[in-house]
Symmetry: C2
Subunit: 678 residues, 2 copies
């Protein structure tokens, strides 16, 4: 007699449950909320979902596991094992299916510590003029009677053949030069870094003879919450691949000011944060090299963009000065240094690192990179650029004048501090629509192209489940709730009676909207709570207030165009952003997305040294507006709290959309807007 | 009943013996050949001679030690304990006297691992123009509305007040700058390094406000056998003090070619030698800072001179190319780098290091330093400069033309490979005279000003004893033996019958000359053996052959003057050197000593950057003559074997001295000259 379901117990979590016979282990793990990794989405490629099934008596669990508790080893597993090798006793969780009661161990390396980072490198044409290039040189042989060092004869050849004079070389090169020259029969291929400001060129590396391989660089976007690195071919600018990790400094504080406070409270805490983030960068670099099968030695440059606090922490500078007026940077200019000085030790030992200049104490190299990518300083019309992340970088201007500020939006836009929020990862709701008549939602999750009311959706999400809402999803959810009349302009969620939908459920003294209830299948309950609305209101008010402050300065109410950039800028629909009141009113078709503009700026600086010179020049022309001590910022912030704050301010939006005129305020004290502290 | 003597047993050596009651522990240790350190010569200052006496039953030794086996704690010990602290149970070996049978433990830190290095810094006036200087600057306060980094405002002030533009600064400085500026109320004292070739100045360090302390530099003479470091005040060039250690690479081979061979036989052995020598340098630096009571941070520069093999090994370059024609250097130019790159990590973290240029594969930065010190390139008359060490650096020339070569003299001149030889240390015979009539010797040992036939000599050497002969002593001994007729021109030691002295004793098939017999008191038997004579003959022939080769090139037989330099150059008397045939014939009063010219050259380069530019220019004018593959070098080497090789070649010497015309060759085969292999 066979059961239709089987008991599965996962260790070390201890999570257990009944699943249908034939369920893949990975799917079972998702259903039971077990931390089991997968990057390829169950295609048997990534092998991240490896598990170790147990066989025999498990008296602790009161279970006897049969030898055939899992389906037989299949062709996908066999191919993987042949190509890359599977450790003894390991199965691929996406391939092995549960046949009867079983105990499954998830080894540490299969537990999820990673996420899919949305900071994919935007595709864009970049002029190629990299700092580091390869040169083939034939060097005169040593002559005992006219003694000179091998390096000196190499210099002579380089000046003669390539017109590069007085090249600098450190002990790292001294070591490699002699064997390379001899192995290459007095011909070598060298990598030379050239300073865009006319400084001494540096000999980075040397290979015997003609070396027919490419050089690569890393464009690193070091955010408060996520770190993304793009591996770029320095010959054609092509992005081989990108990788991302959470910024491990998160454990010291979710936002920048929390991290600065951490240092204030824990002297020396900056040292800890510095080593943590450096290690993360180095690991990313090593992973990229391995994943794309290139020698770490081929990676000869890194360009890093980040906000001022990350900038200082990466350089090993105590960031406390950035936490208090006058927000003085230790150094604001662009920085050229050895990559090893910021902990990039697994790449070429001679590799260089370049950090873009900072604009001001709160407006960093990331903002400079956005400027380099979006070139407001060449714009004929008035452009507003919002780089949205845990901190928003905002630029407004034309070729005549560019203003910049930063605004502490907090991590809500990245899905943090949201009850059902999660980082962008498979299973996260990223798009949502709510029918204004039925108040019913339909949505899409990361990892599937189908909407939730499309046929086949349940099957499509079988392996991931619906696990939460990511940053762009929560923005759409709130905007859709407003458009569907589930939310009043003050941000209050109405009750079931007030809105006519049972999806609005009581939640303490306030209400929540149920987007997805997977609890009957052991899945997640995904709701938007009143607290979530408040967090989004705070974040969007901060973003709007920053933009508004810059508009005040230029005495304008409507920019000619708006560019949304940042980690999830590409994923926000202009309409939703405007309904929410995140951004000022503007013709909807004049709101575009620049994707990850900071990352793009880093890539441009990596591939083209003339761009480095350009942004170093331009940052001095960008006028910084300080939000932290400007009373009007607070006024704008408070005034921008409604959704949208004042329809009169949104004539363009009003032309295409009229929002339900509702009010759910019953005078109760169940909810009040918390003020964000800087 | 009291004994006149007491049994003393030293651990861990196990050495034991009877000493007179009342003998200081240090003296007893010396008498019994126990390794117990002392630098201050028993004055109770250095505390190097600390020992731990035991009390009670020592069944292993069959001894019961009384509580009062050592004299009471005295005033010197009490003062030392008060000032610097003595560990519990410790006594100063020079103060505590033995009263009855005792067991005394010599802790590891009191065992001798050091020696008195003769490379004392010569006193000389040096023009002061150091690369690194202090500047006091007042920096504009940060202004939120005109944001710029602290470093940028510092640069601005430095350009304005000191006309130093575009200073470079690394992450190490970024870290220090902000707290220093704030603590100093926007005034700081900075140390700036300036490149003598017009490269970018570098910000080395920063202190809050006005910093009223001095900067120091290290002049390091890194020899094959010994390393000497001189701590110099960068304001006035004064040498605060010097310290020396044995080159720890000796365990890989006594001479350079042995070390190169070691790498050839043990691939990767260079890495080991590099880290060994770097650690020794760093330790010397730390010891000097401690001894002269300065902050390691105040040491901001180091200049290193050394031969090419040491040069490469210090820089981490495999030296094998230097072991085979065409003896190609990896790099020959002068090197500017961070001191940390050669392992100097305890001094200022921003400290710079400078290595003088090499002249050729066998003629290194040490020879360049000798040239910088002795300036043959400005000489009106023809000067021969011999820098004598394990390798000899030889320069010959005038302002019109300078030649250089190196010659592998081997370590005999430094007291190694000599039967009673020892490094220059207290107890070593450094000067010797032999009466031509009685054939009796008189001598002086390091540590005492008295001659051995002066009254009070036995007391003067009571603590050290007579332990052996150092490099300059053996040269004098051999020359004196020749002048006293104990040695014939071929280098044979005569028998007692042939020479009429019982000090010539049979020693195998040859004879030895007894200089000192301390065996009746448990001391050393110091002799000069036939083997010693042969070793000195090889060394002096190599030195002479090198000089001769250069003289051939300039078609001269007699230089106008000779400068003896090197570790013990200052201690060789011109007469003895000439009797030996070490150096060519010359007017005796035209033979002078330059002391440690290489070390002096390092000090000059440390104190005066114009000297760096000068020597970098001059080395290109110095013509290198290669001894290793020149057949005439071998011919000269063989021809120069006699003592002196041919009196006809020494007309000047013959004017002041006629050597006994003896021959002890009886046709036996007991001794033959071994040929040195390169």
């Amino acid at each position: 007699m066979t059961k239709d379901t089987a008991l599965v117990i996962f260790t070390p979590s201890g999570k257990r449950g009944e699943v249908s016979v034939g369920t893949p282990v990975l799917t079972a793990a998702r259903q039971l909320g077990v931390d089991l990794d997968s990057v390829c989405g169950g295609r048997g490629i990534c092998s991240k979902c490896q598990v170790s099934p147990g066989v025999g008596q498990f008296s602790k669990h009161g279970l006897t596991v049969a030898e055939d508790a899992l389906s037989d080893w299949n062709a996908v597993e066999a191919r993987y094992d042949e190509k890359r090798g599977l450790k003894e006793g390991r199965r691929l969780g996406c391939q092995a299916c549960i046949q009867s009661d079983v105990v499954i161990d998830v080894p540490p390396e299969s537990q999820v510590h990673k996420q899919v980072v949305r900071k994919a490198a935007a595709i864009r044409d970049i002029k190629m003029d990299p700092a580091t290039r390869l040169y083939y040189v034939e060097v005169r042989e040593p002559d005992m009677h006219e003694p000179s060092g091998d390096l000196q004869r190499l210099r002579e050849a380089l000046a003669r053949d390539w017109d590069i004079a007085d090249i600098d070389a450190g002990p790292g090169i001294f070591r490699k030069l002699q064997p390379a020259l001899r192995k290459g029969k007095w011909a070598v291929t060298i990598a030379v870094w050239q300073d865009h400001n006319g400084g001494t060129p540096i000999l980075i590396d040397v290979w015997p003879g003609y070396m027919d391989a490419r050089l690569y660089g890393l464009a690193i976007d070091l955010g408060s919450t996520t770190i993304a690195a793009h591996l770029c071919d320095l010959r054609n600018g092509q992005v081989l691949g990108s990788a991302g990790v959470m910024n491990p400094q998160i454990r010291f504080g979710e936002d920048l000011m929390s991290r600065v406070s951490y240092v204030m409270m824990n002297p020396g805490g900056d040292v800890e944060m510095t080593s943590t983030v450096r290690a993360a960068l180095d690991k990313l670099a090593a992973e990229l090299a391995e994943e794309y099968n290139i020698e770490p030695r081929q990676i000869v440059e890194a360009v890093v963009v980040c906000n001022p606090v990350m900038h200082h922490l990466l350089l090993g500078i105590d960031p406390v000065e950035l936490g208090q007026a006058p927000f003085a940077l230790a150094t604001s200019d662009a920085i050229n240094m050895g990559a090893g000085e910021i902990g990039l030790t697994t790449i070429n030992e001679g590799a260089r690192a370049y950090m873009l200049p900072c604009i001001a104490g709160h407006v960093g190299a990331d903002c400079a990179a956005v400027a380099l990518s979006e070139t407001p300083y060449t714009s004929e019309d008035l452009v507003l650029i919002c780089d949205v992340g845990t901190n928003a970088e905002i630029l407004l201007g034309t070729k005549d004048r560019v203003l910049a500020c930063s605004s502490p939006t907090g991590p809500a836009f990245e899905g943090a501090q949201i009850s059902s929020g999660q980082r962008a990862a498979p299973g996260a709701i990223e798009h949502i629509e709510i029918d204004p008549a039925t108040k019913e939602p339909r949505f899409r999750v990361i990892g599937s192209e189908l909407w939730s009311d499309d046929p086949g959706f349940p099957e499509a999400i079988a392996t991931t489940g619906v696990t939460g809402i990511c940053g762009s999803g929560i923005i759409e959810a709130v905007a859709e709730m407003r458009m569907a009349g589930l939310l009043d302009p003050s941000g209050l969620i109405g009750s079931a009676e007030q809105t006519g939908t049972s999806r609005n459920i009581p939640d303490g003294r306030t209400h929540s909207y149920v987007v997805w209830d997977g609890t009957t299948d052991g899945g997640a309950l995904v709701t938007v709570t009143q607290g979530d609305i408040r967090a989004i209101q705070l974040a969007k008010s901060a973003l709007y207030a920053g933009a508004r402050l810059l508009m005040d300065e230029l005495e304008t109410d409507v920019p000619d165009r708006i560019v949304l950039a940042g980690a999830f800028g590409a994923h926000i629909s202009p309409k939703h952003a405007m309904v929410l009141g995140m951004i000022p009113d503007c013709l909807l078709d004049k709101v575009t997305s620049a994707g990850n503009a900071a990352g793009t700026g880093a890539r441009i600086a990596l591939c083209d040294i003339s761009a480095r010179a350009r942004i170093e020049r331009e940052v001095h022309r960008i006028q910084k507006v300080e939000t932290a001590i400007e009373p009007r910022f607070q006024e704008h912030f408070v005034a921008a709290n409604a959704i949208p704050h004042a329809t009169a301010e949104f004539p363009e939006l009003s032309k295409v959309l009229s929002l339900p005129d509702v009010s759910f305020n019953t005078g109760g004290s169940g909810d009040r807007v918390r003020r964000r502290r800087r």
